[in-house]
């Protein structure tokens, strides 16, 4: 007993002694360097994430001892909010966005002293509606999608339970659409590109409401997605939707085109207005769900953050139709647009806020 205890004392004293030493070392480390040169920081859309990470990886693999960029996938809305919180080492340099920055977001940036920002379109993506290969082979119009998914189509709560309720020419299978949550840019794009035009087609009052000063009635009628079951929120994890479609052949899934391309042996795209989502239809804009993908860059960080300008230049070399990013599922923008984006990067041209809404 006595021997045990004495050994215990020595042991405990030793442990505490060492702990103190290591803790002291850790805090000296922590205190020293937060303000010196830091790595590039990118936040935002999960749709742009695979492309920005691919560029980040190439950026490091090119050598030259660059610090690895840090890319966080938190959704377009959350990303732009963090981006606009201010300038300085603790704020991100680039925001990935799967939609254009809103005027309110730009104003937030200005209120926080972010200053000029650059808008670089990196390519195009399609909001694809897809079903399993053994699915019902639906062919939908924007109006069908709107009537099936809106919370209040034509101003009344949505009572449609099967696709036939929406359009008599469709089969009587239950409406089940798995998609991303409300923080997602993909869902915003679905609303903007499919639901709103569908609303305009289905509802004669839509245009009048849109022009009205009070946006709330238009939003509830045309933009809100139903939450009574048929629209299934699957979170930001698009692979869960892919797995869900494989398990449930009657369901449709909503995700970025790259996921459809990767799983093309299991899934196929649902034609909207007769146009199937493919590389060609999205690239030339005939597919209704085509949308641009953007990077937003703080001009004031360009000189302060080492390598940021190189990173953007590298991005411009990788977004060509035969480039590395297209292999990862990005759809290259038309030539003229790519040239314009490359010019913005080269000349560090700032975004003109007049065109935003």
């Amino acid at each position: 007993m006595l021997r045990r205890t004495t050994r215990g004392i020595a042991g405990v004293r030793d442990i505490f002694g060492r702990l103190g030493l290591i803790a002291a070392a850790a805090f000296t480390l922590a205190g020293c360097d937060s303000n010196t040169a830091r790595e590039i920081r990118v936040v935002g859309s999960s749709t742009v994430y695979p492309f920005t990470t691919a560029v980040a990886e190439t950026f490091v693999n090119q050598g030259g001892g660059r610090r690895a960029p840090v890319v966080e996938s938190i959704g377009t809305g959350a990303g732009l909010k963090r981006f606009c919180e201010g300038v300085g080492w603790e704020f991100p340099d680039i925001a990935n966005a799967s939609r254009r920055i809103k005027k309110s977001e730009y104003q937030l940036c200005q209120a926080n002293g972010v200053g000029e920002i650059m808008e670089v379109q990196i390519g195009v993506d399609g909001v694809a509606l897809a079903e399993a290969n053994n699915g019902p082979r639906l062919r939908l119009s924007k109006q069908d999608v709107y009537l099936a998914l809106a919370a209040n189509p034509l101003g009344k709560p949505n009572a449609a339970r099967t696709w036939r309720d929406v359009n008599p020419s469709l089969p009587a299978i239950p409406i089940q659409v798995m998609g991303p949550p409300s923080t997602s840019g993909t869902r915003d794009a679905l609303v903007e590109l499919v639901m709103e035009p569908g609303c305009a087609a289905a509802d004669p009052q839509a245009n009048a409401l849109k022009a009205a000063k009070d946006a709330a009635p238009y939003d509830t009628r045309c933009k809100r997605i139903r939450d009574d079951g048929p629209y299934i929120d699957k979170g930001e994890n698009d692979n869960l939707i892919v797995q869900g479609l494989a398990a449930n052949p009657n369901a449709l899934g909503v995700f970025g085109y790259s996921y459809l391309e990767e799983n093309i042996d299991r899934l196929h795209g649902v034609p909207i207005e007769g146009v199937t989502p493919t590389y060609a239809t999205i690239a030339d804009g005939t597919y209704p769900g085509a949308r641009p993908l953007f990077l937003y860059v703080k001009k004031r960080h360009l000189r302060a953050v080492p390598g940021l300008a190189d990173f953007l230049t590298l991005y411009t070399t990788m977004w060509n139709p035969k480039g590395k990013l297209t292999q990862r599922g990005l759809i290259a923008a038309p030539d003229a647009l790519r040239a314009k984006s490359a010019q913005i990067v080269a000349q560090r041209a700032a975004l003109d806020p007049a065109g935003l809404h």
Binding site: A68, V70, G88, E262
Partner: protein, 445 residues
């Protein structure tokens, strides 16, 4: 010993009991009595059955988890290599040999167009489209080979490089017909080989599933855990000792006790918000703006946040361990003239150590598996290089698993399972350490 303590056998009425009445012996053979006995045995059997069922159910879930993980994950530890013949002199790369021994070697080789040279070599070797058979990061392997031995630039070589995801999947009998035909062709040429993928344990995150590794996340977890331990253990143990040995028992200490017990049950996401506000937030004090104290995504911030989370667990476990030390040990030590602090550090703490360590390691295991608070402080990030220190951007094992499960490429499915296996092994090692320490320091009296 008085006679009344000896139990009476129900053999028959021999003497009156205290009240003076005769008690009839129990007749075990009657129908009612037999039924009662059967019921009692039945209850016994049922209880055993339910207990066994409960254990079997948990064992079945555990077995299901382990079997699916191992079945999916073992393939994540293997890799298909393609033997790529490459003719360096014919590739036309202009490389300054002297630079290959300097830190600028990577830049020089990348600048010389090694990536395209490797793709070209694949196209020559396997026909048009051959560059699709090798991984996008295959040129990094060749870069390392050149750096290790620059003399290979003067000759033709066959170098094993990782195959692309499509080929890798097709080798496993998964994937499209075209890829399978390619694999058959390559196998005939003897160009394919399968290896244990040691790189998985040395590399960091990548966008290419054949090039990813777990080391970046594992190192991030180790750094985070180190910070958590260094903060939570001393603070937790000292609070426990103070509360148990020194603090007066009054309303205030009761309040503290209740608060600690409550904190132990607070959801981890709330600690994430706390960490975000305290370590990464900025606030105005006396007209001065105080910026964030620490950089985002750093292991230091993660460790501090998790330390806040597991501290209550350690305090509770340590208090129980200190409480379990018999008072006679304290009395004896005080009796031979030890000061209170000597009593605590020479006698109570060593005896309580096994319990304290067990509690600490259980808390650490919880912290190791935690994702929610770390998402908020920016450790959910893609980082190509492993963290170099406590303030470098880092990610941790469970977050890495979460990130890979969300990746587009299907090659990540088995990598996710492989990462889960690494996490489980790490947890197993920690729990093993807990058992070892407990047995080593345990004292019986």
């Amino acid at each position: 010993m008085s006679k009344s303590l000896v139990p009476q056998l129900p053999t028959g009425p021999k003497e009156p009991d205290a009240k003076g009445s005769w008690r009839a012996p129990t007749d075990w053979t009657t129908h009612a009595m037999q039924k009662r006995i059967r019921r009692r045995y039945g209850a016994e059997r049922r209880f055993r059955f339910f207990g066994l069922a409960a254990v079997s159910l948990s064992a079945a879930f555990l077995a299901f988890l382990l079997i699916t993980m191992v079945a999916n994950g073992w393939r994540g530890f293997t890799r298909t290599d393609v033997a790529l013949p490459i003719d360096f002199p014919a590739s036309g790369m202009l490389i300054e040999r002297a630079q290959l021994r300097t830190p600028a070697a990577d830049l020089a080789l990348a600048g010389a167009g090694l990536e395209n040279a490797v793709k070209g070599a694949a196209a020559t070797a396997f026909g048009p489209g051959g560059e699709e058979f090798i991984s996008e990061n295959a040129w990094l392997r060749i870069r390392d080979a050149i750096k290790a031995d620059p003399s290979i630039l003067d000759r033709k070589m066959r170098i094993d490089v990782p195959a692309s995801t499509e080929i890798d999947q097709a080798v496993r009998g998964d994937g499209n017909a075209e890829a399978k035909a390619t694999v058959a062709k390559l196998q005939q040429a003897g160009a394919l080989s399968r290896h244990f993928n040691l790189d998985f344990l040395y590399e960091s995150d990548s966008t290419d599933p054949v090039a990813v590794g777990i080391w970046g996340a594992l190192k991030g977890s180790l750094l985070t855990m180190a910070v958590t331990f260094l903060i939570a253990f001393p603070v937790g143990v000292l609070s426990a000792i103070y509360l148990e040995e020194y603090a007066p028992k009054n309303r205030w200490t009761d309040l503290i006790e209740v608060s600690i017990n409550n904190l132990a049950a607070v959801p981890s996401i709330i600690f994430g918000l706390l960490g975000l506000a305290v370590f990464l937030g900025s606030w105005n004090l006396f007209g001065y703006q105080f910026g964030p104290l620490l950089p985002r995504s750093a292991a230091l911030v993660g460790g501090l946040t998790l330390a806040l989370m597991i501290m209550p667990v350690i305090v509770i476990a340590s208090r129980n361990a200190v409480k379990a030390v018999p008072p006679s040990i304290r009395d004896a030590a005080l009796g031979i003239g030890a000061s209170p602090i000597q009593v605590v550090f020479h006698h109570v703490l060593p005896l309580a150590m096994p319990g304290i360590l067990t509690g600490t390691i259980i808390g650490m295991a919880r912290a190791l598996g935690e994702t929610a608070p770390l998402l908020l402080i920016g450790m959910r990030a893609f980082i190509v290089t492993p963290p170099g220190g406590f303030t470098d951007p880092a990610t941790v094992l469970p977050v890495q698993i979460f990130l890979w499960s969300d990746e587009v490429s299907r090659g990540f499915v088995e990598k996710t399972s492989a990462a889960i296996i690494v996490l489980l092994v790490f947890l197993l090692a920690m729990n093993g350490l807990a058992i070892y320490l407990r047995n080593k320091f345990e004292t019986r009296w």
